[in-house]
Symmetry: C2
Subunit: 213 residues, 2 copies
């Protein structure tokens, strides 16, 4: 599958890009700066021959499946101009609105209740899902880290949820767990603050695993 | 340890009561109706000789460690009259403000950001912690269910967090993970909506397990 990552040069985007390429997807790592994207893509690839190349965000938005991986406070401004290209597409929101306070990360309450809700409102004809929120970026990028995590997937469109689950399941170490509508996104995103705080306080890279399912 | 459970006759309170008694604690299961508490305690005990008895909420509040297990919308009204008895004590909030909508549970936003925050404001001289939010009540009450879960513990008072972690760790199948201040409670409580929705949609009793810690 063609996977476009908008804002793919940050930690979240890089880890996802290399793992999606490893899974056999045709990955377009987007950035405002296509040259920077190309250099990040080249550094991720090293000597491997996966299909991963850097490009402008506009080109990443043309892929079959699009992931928005910008910092949370850049999501709306980055994606709104791309609304036409994203019409009808599955667009995965992985942003979490967090603020650092001392040794804790605190969850902020975005307008519309979640970043995924903000994104859906900015591109109303796209089919937005929320996923990939709780993953430790450094362990994603280190493909030999043995990362194992359950990934919560929510969204209002059942087909978009299914496409997102299939994409998540295609990535080594990840298991998709479908949660329900986009109304769940706020709780899922806020919980990233809990993970981040655990990681700071306990000096770990913890992951979500669900027992009993 | 003496453990008082305010509002202990509901599903959450019952499961905690029997497991705390099994762990060797002296458990006082409280209710508005002491007779009802006595009958619930007796039914939980069966033929066992653990230390578990039913009582009025006022008596439960006299225990060394107090857990508030009422439905979320009864927390403040139930606990405020007990403020004097709870002065200086560690009081664990396990309430989650949730609303059902179709096949999903949705997280509500309580005043002060969390039910634990509401509770702390109602009993300002107590040392409130948040814990025990994500546990499937039926699996808690069924002591042979093989339940294994990580329990997130937050609170502003470091000693109260430590007491709460020790209590959680004393219960078979549970592992405490200390998260930080009571500012984390909102995100922890809201995430219960995600668990409850997963459980409804997938017909499971899922539990939180953290990898990498």
């Amino acid at each position: 599958m063609q996977v476009g990552i908008i804002g793919g040069t940050g930690p979240a985007g890089r880890g996802l890009a290399i793992r999606a390429a490893l899974a056999g997807h045709d990955v377009r790592l987007g950035s405002r700066d296509a040259e920077r994207a190309a250099s990040v893509a080249a550094s991720l690839l090293g000597d491997h021959d996966y299909v991963l190349h850097g490009c402008a965000n506009e080109e990443a938005a043309l892929a079959e499946l699009v992931v928005v991986a910008t910092p949370w406070d850049a999501v709306v401004a980055t994606v709104r101009p791309l609304a036409a290209a994203l019409d009808g597409k599955v667009v995965i929101s992985m942003a979490n609105a967090l603020a650092k306070q001392g040794r804790e990360l605190l969850a902020l309450l975005p307008p519309r209740g979640s970043m995924a809700g903000q994104l859906q409102a900015a591109i109303p004809t796209a089919r937005v899902t929320g996923a990939l929120h709780h993953l430790p970026a450094s362990k994603m990028e280190d493909v030999g880290s043995g990362l194992r995590a359950d990934v919560l997937v929510c969204g209002d469109d059942p087909d978009a949820r299914e496409v997102t689950c299939r994409f998540v399941d295609s990535i080594d170490g990840l298991r998709a767990v479908e949660v329900g509508s986009l109304a769940q996104a706020g709780a899922i995103e806020a919980f990233t603050a809990v993970f981040a705080t655990i990681n700071v306080r306990h000096k770990v890279h913890s992951t979500l695993l669900l027992g009993g399912i």
